[in-house]
């Protein structure tokens, strides 16, 4: 089956003339459409757009003029990535009919590299959640066990890749929204350094934390996508003018001999499931066998990360979402409107879901007069201490390895009415977000329930090339990333 190929294999197969993009695309679209009633990985499957792009790619292949390694390759975009002429909902009722008049930079770059867009994937509304249960378009189901969540907020992108409906997908990660679903769905996912990939045209959630990155079956595939999407963009002033390395070339140096791996004690604590701990420690032993050295370290401010995240993120979110006022963007509320303020009240009451409202209210509260210093300012100072934890650790070690999540995928509905317990799912992913450092999630085995579990690898800012080489070394030695769910 073509859908079981990796991106790299498919790209090479296309170049060698083994199949056409049109064939590959039809198979993947068939799966995307056929599986969506069960998985709900997509909010919109873009069959016509994909078929047209595949045809154009096949033309280029015939003329020997393929644009990039991604040319003709089916890929998907999280629905908070705005796409010109294609409905982009951010999984919210308030944008249910929003058709953007422009492309996000990441969509533009992938389009110019020959992307075949299979569709727009499901997410928690405005990327607010850890399970994709807060989507206005219904929950995404985990391809390994349909009664469980796919993780979130980029659950649709992770499930779409895991289910073989596309070869790669773009997600966003603010506090763990790529790594958590990658772990839950058994695929590879990369949260990049803050500012490595342009966010222009991607609906903003928490601007001091938001990042965009890829999902794929393998780290090699992530490198191919990164090559296209990384780099400075004049439309996003947070993208640094730091040269983009040749990510695929960097993988060739996949030796981990002498690599110093930090193992922070704060991540191996009560609440971590025995299954996850065993698999993560097993993966680290594998690295040791390959010649790396495990170094016990401490990141003492880890335990404050969730508390500051749920101050900083809602504060920034509440400001970002104030633009959805029913004037510039969609949703005509039901009911009689006499004054402008009623329009705001009704649009935002009817348009936003519960979790988004909860976060807007929390954010407004922590920013309000009298509370700003106690909450927001305090949180931004503790953030500095968390960043210093990482700065200090990286003086002694090359990478840090931890679990992605304390547990494997949980049951749908298990946490959706208990916001605090949902928030604690992010305890291991938030610290790297606070420090702005890149972090990878790669499959490292299966729980006793047969659910995939991810290993998190964290490295210093702008060292994605080294980080991916470390991840690639593990995938050369193991085959967890080659398992497919039975669907």
């Amino acid at each position: 089956m073509l859908s079981e190929l990796t991106l790299k294999e498919a790209s090479e197969g296309l170049r060698a003339g083994k199949f056409k993009s049109a064939e590959l695309t039809e198979e993947m679209l068939g799966r995307a459409e056929g599986l969506n009633p069960e998985l709900n990985a997509y909010i919109t499957v873009t069959g016509d757009v994909a078929r047209k792009a595949a045809g154009e790619s096949d033309q280029r292949a015939q003329n020997g003029g393929l644009l990039s390694a991604l040319d003709g390759m089916p890929g998907a975009l999280k629905d908070i990535v705005n796409t010109k002429g294609i409905r982009s909902t951010s999984a919210s009722k308030i944008l249910a009919n929003f058709v953007p008049p422009y492309n996000a930079t990441v969509a533009e770059k992938l389009g110019q590299a020959g992307m075949v867009l299979t569709g727009k994937t499901n997410t928690d509304e405005f990327a607010c959640g850890g399970s994709t249960e807060y989507s206005a378009f219904g929950v995404t189901h985990n391809p390994w066990d349909l009664s469980r969540v796919a993780g979130g907020s980029s659950g649709g992108s992770a499930a779409a890749v895991a289910a073989g409906t596309c070869l790669y997908a773009i997600g966003t990660d603010t506090g763990g929204s790529i790594r958590l679903p990658a772990s839950f769905c058994g695929v590879s996912g990369l949260k990049v350094t803050y500012g490595r990939v342009s966010r222009s045209g991607v609906t903003a959630m928490a601007s001091s934390l938001d990042s965009i990155g890829p999902f794929a079956k393998t780290v090699e595939d992530l490198a191919l996508v990164m090559q296209v999407i990384a780099g400075n963009d004049v439309k996003d002033s947070t993208t640094l003018r730091v040269a983009v390395p040749d990510y695929t070339a960097a993988l060739k140096d996949a030796s981990v001999k002498g690599l110093r791996i930090g193992v922070p004690k704060e991540y191996f604590v009560e609440g971590l499931s025995a299954d996850v701990e065993k698999l993560v420690r097993g993966a680290m032993s594998e690295y040791e066998r390959m010649g790396a050295k495990l170094v016990p370290i401490s990141l003492p401010y880890t335990k404050y990360a969730v508390a500051i995240y749920y101050i900083i993120m809602p504060a920034e979110l509440s400001a970002n979402l104030s633009r959805y006022d029913g004037i510039r963007y969609g949703l005509k509320p039901e009911g009689e409107i006499n004054e402008l303020i009623d329009q705001y009240y009704m649009t935002r009451d009817q348009g936003f879901g519960q979790e988004v409202k909860r976060r807007i209210l929390t954010g407004t509260y922590v920013l309000s007069a009298g509370y700003f210093d106690a909450y927001y300012r305090k949180a931004m100072k503790v953030r500095t201490l968390i960043k210093q934890d990482f700065d200090n650790a990286f003086k002694d070690v090359d990478v840090i390895m931890t679990p992605v999540s304390p547990t494997a995928a949980f049951k749908i509905g298990e946490k959706s009415n208990d916001p605090l317990s949902m928030y604690l799912e992010d305890a291991f992913t938030i610290p790297a977000s606070m420090a702005g450092v890149p972090a990878l999630s790669i499959p490292c085995g299966f729980s006793s329930d047969g659910l995939p579990v991810g290993l998190q690898i964290i490295s210093p800012q702008f060292s994605e090339h080294k980080l991916m080489a470390v991840g690639h070394a593990y995938q050369l030695a193991t085959d967890w990333h080659k398992k497919f769910p039975k669907l």
């Binding site: 009451d349 909860r358 509260y365 605090l420």
Partner: protein, 115 residues
């Protein structure tokens, strides 16, 4: 879910004590321009109370003399050439709004009421 009996202090040392009840939620909802039902106000009061209680953990952290991290990669004053970039046309932007348009502008309800 409707328990509003939390004793909520602020997160940081010296924070004002704040009790989150339905009235407070309604006040914040007004600031947020979100219409809210009484039932939701009760529910959010309970949930936000629990979340803000959890923030008290930050009182343990001494942040005297610590600077805020507002830009994590250390960027400062990023500039670009002062040139106009045209990549969307006003008509396309206007078309996004569901409200009526008059003379190339969006028509909204009255902001100021006549007595």
């Amino acid at each position: 879910m409707t328990d509003t009996s939390h004793k909520n202090g602020g997160a940081g040392a010296g924070a004002e004590s704040a009790k989150i009840d339905a009235a407070k939620i309604r006040q914040i909802a007004h600031l947020s321009r979100i219409g809210i039902s009484d039932a939701d106000a009760e529910k959010y009061a309970g949930q936000m109370g629990a979340i803000l209680d959890y923030m008290k953990i930050l009182e343990e952290v001494n942040t005297d003399g610590v600077e805020m991290t507002t830009q994590v990669t250390g960027l400062q004053s990023v500039t670009r050439p002062d040139a106009v970039i045209v990549d969307t046309v006003p008509a396309e932007l206007l078309a996004v709004s569901a409200l009526p348009k008059i003379g190339g502008q969006i028509a909204v309800k009255a902001v100021i009421k006549e007595d």
